[in-house]
């Protein structure tokens, strides 16, 4: 067992941090909210080779794994970089294995892809469903008739401006992944200036099916969850750093506020949640590579832990900063906006938590055999 990052992984992470530091992404987010133009970070992604991260070598990609992609997403999250990888990466993975002719252009980033996914059936709901424009009531996944696809999918991440949409649709009750290159996408803005969202409306749009079985289509959905989780974990770390720094320098009643238990324990709680989510990134990364039957629960647990951690961290960061943390010029509100919208994307956090419960109740045994600790027993932990 070894959970250390490899040298290659460390290099990938450091390079991502470096590449993203060249754009003032957080300042840009604030300006976008005020009506400024959204910075285009796709060239950065292309230059760094992230577009082909999950595409195999033979198709012109880097042939890396989900965990590597998560490392990049974590860095993007740390800086609120509005890079279109969350939509592109799961799509690229399906295009890679699905026999898509234009895969090399996708791997090179010349053509940007977006994943129009659907939530797989669960222990209570036998249907494939997608997010509706408003409300908890879910919409049926689009239908595919062999050559065209029809349906509506709301709140699709990174859909506006994408060249290729990979749409999960249903044909005769079974899921298919199809490629749509000419779709109607309504650009919608909600709350978080860093996020490109679109309502995808397909009315008999021409579509080409990919070679992808149910497992591959489910896998793409959970991959999107894991990537969103990784992005959130990065943002949690940024919030924690910001809040800790302020807690050391702000004084009340003659003491730095970080010396008060209420503040200190809240900061430790950000750390606890962030580290838990981070541990689950390893779980998701491992399951994607070596434990496919656990990937659904791993990615769902990871997504729910990370979304909750970010919600908590963003709120606590504002609270620690006091009034100033809620002002326009401060960075804390931008992380708060990110947290609020992210929680509601890709099916919503509640659905991920529900999926964890559903998988468990359906009897998917999570996790490899677990160590019981070097001394192997409960009693030691209770000794005063």
């Amino acid at each position: 067992m070894n959970l250390e990052l490899s040298d290659e992984q460390q290099f990938l992470r450091d390079a991502a941090r470096d590449a993203l530091s060249r754009t003032k992404t957080i300042e840009a987010a604030r300006e976008t909210l005020d009506g400024g133009a959204r910075p285009d970070l796709w060239p950065t992604a292309v230059e760094a080779g992230w577009a082909g991260l999950l595409v195999s070598d033979e198709n012109g990609g880097a042939g890396l794994g989900a965990f590597d992609a998560m490392l990049v997403m974590q860095e993007a999250g740390r800086r609120l970089a509005g890079i279109e990888l969350l939509g592109h990466l799961p799509a690229s993975a399906l295009l890679d294995t699905g026999g898509y002719a234009g895969i090399e252009a996708v791997a090179a980033g010349e053509r940007r892809a977006a994943f129009v996914g659907a939530v797989p059936p669960g222990d209570l709901d036998p249907e494939w469903t997608v997010d509706s424009v408003s409300g908890m009531s879910r919409a049926p996944a689009p239908t595919f008739d062999g050559s065209t696809v029809t349906g509506e999918v709301a709140w699709v991440v990174d859909a506006p401006g994408a060249d290729v949409l990979v749409v999960v649709a249903v044909q005769d009750g079974s899921p298919v992944a199809v490629v749509v290159e000419d779709a109607s996408v309504e650009d919608v803005f909600r709350y978080d200036p860093t996020r490109r969202l679109g309502h995808v409306r397909l009315e008999g749009a021409a579509a080409t099916p990919l070679q992808a079985d149910v497992a591959a289509i489910e896998r793409a959905w959970y991959l999107a969850q894991a990537l969103l989780a990784a992005e959130s974990v990065g943002a949690v770390e940024a919030c924690l750093e910001m809040a800790v720094a302020y807690a050391k320098e702000r004084f009340t009643f003659g003491r730095a506020i970080g010396s008060y238990q209420a503040v200190k324990h809240g900061l430790v709680e950000i750390m606890r949640r962030g580290e838990n989510a981070k541990s689950l990134l390893y779980y998701a990364g491992w399951a994607h590579a070596s434990g496919p039957e656990e990937f659904a629960i791993a990615a769902s647990a990871c997504r729910s832990a990370a979304s909750d951690a970010l919600d908590y961290a963003a709120r606590e960061n504002i609270a620690v900063h006091g009034g100033i943390g809620a002002t326009w010029e401060h960075d804390a509100p931008l992380f708060f906006r990110r947290a609020q919208l992210s929680r509601r994307l890709l099916g919503g956090t509640g659905a991920s938590i529900d999926r964890v419960a559903g998988e468990l109740l359906a009897g998917s045994a999570p996790g490899p055999v677990a160590p019981e600790g070097p001394t192997g027993a409960a009693a030691t932990a209770v000794e005063g």
Partner: protein, 407 residues
């Protein structure tokens, strides 16, 4: 990143598995309907520890010269995993072998090592940890048990509490105050205490569950020779920190070590159709499961770091916080789903037992508040709270506290 065994580890695992396969019929049954009568449990468990020790499966991380295998933590985990897989008990004296033996190895004299370590490892002499006192829990250095020096030895008087296994221990490692005129961390000394010494009384301490999971130990002018001092006189705090570091490793394994697995709670409600379909039940179960799964992978991260030779930091305490709180939430959920029936105490389900037991566990091994303080200060680098007890002689401190409480 790899969760799988290296070829060497796989070979060792095979070897352990083979031994267990061959010997598992000799293991005692400690729980369930076929369990041994209560009065035979300790001796049977002790005998089983002896067999494990002889096979090199106890204290595997101890140096070879003291009967161990000189292994790293991964091999120890492999042993624990295979023991769990074979559904046989581990060793009896996890406190001795896991925490107190390593303390003696680090701080004891050669005589102490050769006298005590062997019988400890083989289960012939069980050990207990005598640190906590009624007035020294979170603030462990506030120990009041006094050790007065006399010719060639010491006289100990005081009271210890929360002592696991004291009722059948041969020895205890005890922390006592040898000097009350210096600040509180400085006047402490560690001793070996023979539990059959004159003046030692052990009394079971019943918990909220009704069981005596712990003991109180009373010391009335107990005589100890000079050779019972472990480490140096006045350096008891330093010696205790070694024990606590080993405790931290154990705590870091959180839910795994404590056996609170999400399936266990899911099974309890899976049979109730209304509960399974209830959105609130599902959200709560999903949250609890997420927390407990996170602890599992946090423990792998810690293990990986240990294997690289890193000493785990205080953040290991986060796993304990997560485990205890998630397990409390789980018991609460099951009782909400099953109703009063979940609280029956006359069954094997143990749910009611855990409902009662877990609130006490919040305070064990460091309260949540103390753990969060430590992590905030040592890991996040936050400034400490103002300390009113710093540099003040212990005797003066007590007098001040009494005065303040009386106000």
């Amino acid at each position: 990143m790899d969760l799988n065994d290296t070829p060497e580890q796989a070979a060792y695992r095979e070897q352990v598995r083979a031994w267990l396969e061959e010997h598992k019929s000799e293991a005692p049954v400690l729980e369930g309907p076929d369990a041994l009568p209560e009065d035979q449990v300790v001796d049977a468990h002790r005998a089983w520890q002896r067999k494990l020790a002889e096979a090199g499966l106890a204290g595997a991380t101890w140096p070879k010269e003291y009967g161990g295998q000189g292994f790293g933590p991964i091999e120890q985990v492999i042993i624990s995993q295979e023991i769990a897989r074979a559904r046989v008990p581990g060793i009896l004296d996890v406190i001795g072998v896991g925490m107190l033996g390593p303390t003696i190895i680090a701080h004891g004299s050669e005589d102490q090592k050769s006298r005590y370590l062997g019988p400890m490892l083989h289960g012939d002499e069980v050990w207990c940890q005598l640190f906590s006192e009624p007035a020294a829990g979170s603030d462990l250095a506030g120990i009041q048990t006094r050790a007065k020096q006399e010719d060639g030895g010491w006289r100990l008087t005081g009271q210890k509490v929360w002592t696991t296994n004291a009722q059948f221990s041969a020895y205890g490692l005890i922390l006592a105050r040898t000097d009350a005129d210096v600040p509180k961390h400085k006047g402490l000394t560690m001793f070996v205490l023979p539990m059959d010494a004159e003046g030692v009384t052990v009394r079971g301490l019943r918990q909220i569950t009704g069981d005596a999971e712990f003991n109180e130990v009373f010391l009335d002018d107990v005589k100890l020779d000079d050779d019972m001092v472990v480490g140096q006189v006045g350096n008891g705090w330093g010696t205790a920190l070694t024990t606590l570091m080993f405790e931290r490793v154990t705590i870091g394994f959180g839910s795994e070590g404590l056996g609170y697995r999400p399936q266990r709670f899911a099974e309890a409600i899976a049979g109730d159709e209304a509960a399974v379909r209830d959105g609130d039940v599902r959200q709560r179960l999903g949250h609890i499961t997420t927390e407990l799964l996170a602890v599992r992978f946090t423990s792998y991260r810690m293990l990986s770091a240990l294997q690289q030779g890193q000493i785990p930091g205080p953040e290991a305490g986060l796993s304990k916080i997560t485990t205890v709180n998630a397990s409390i939430a789980a018991c609460d959920l099951v009782a909400d789903a099953l109703g009063p029936d979940a609280l029956r105490e006359d069954t094997d389900s143990q749910l009611s037992y855990h409902t009662s037991f877990l609130p006490g566990l919040k305070s064990a091994g460091g309260t949540e508040e103390i753990l969060r303080n430590t992590i905030g200060e040592r890991v996040l680098g936050l400034p400490p709270e103002p300390r009113l007890d710093k540099g003040i002689p212990f005797s003066e401190l007590r007098a001040k506290e009494k005065e303040a409480a009386a106000r």
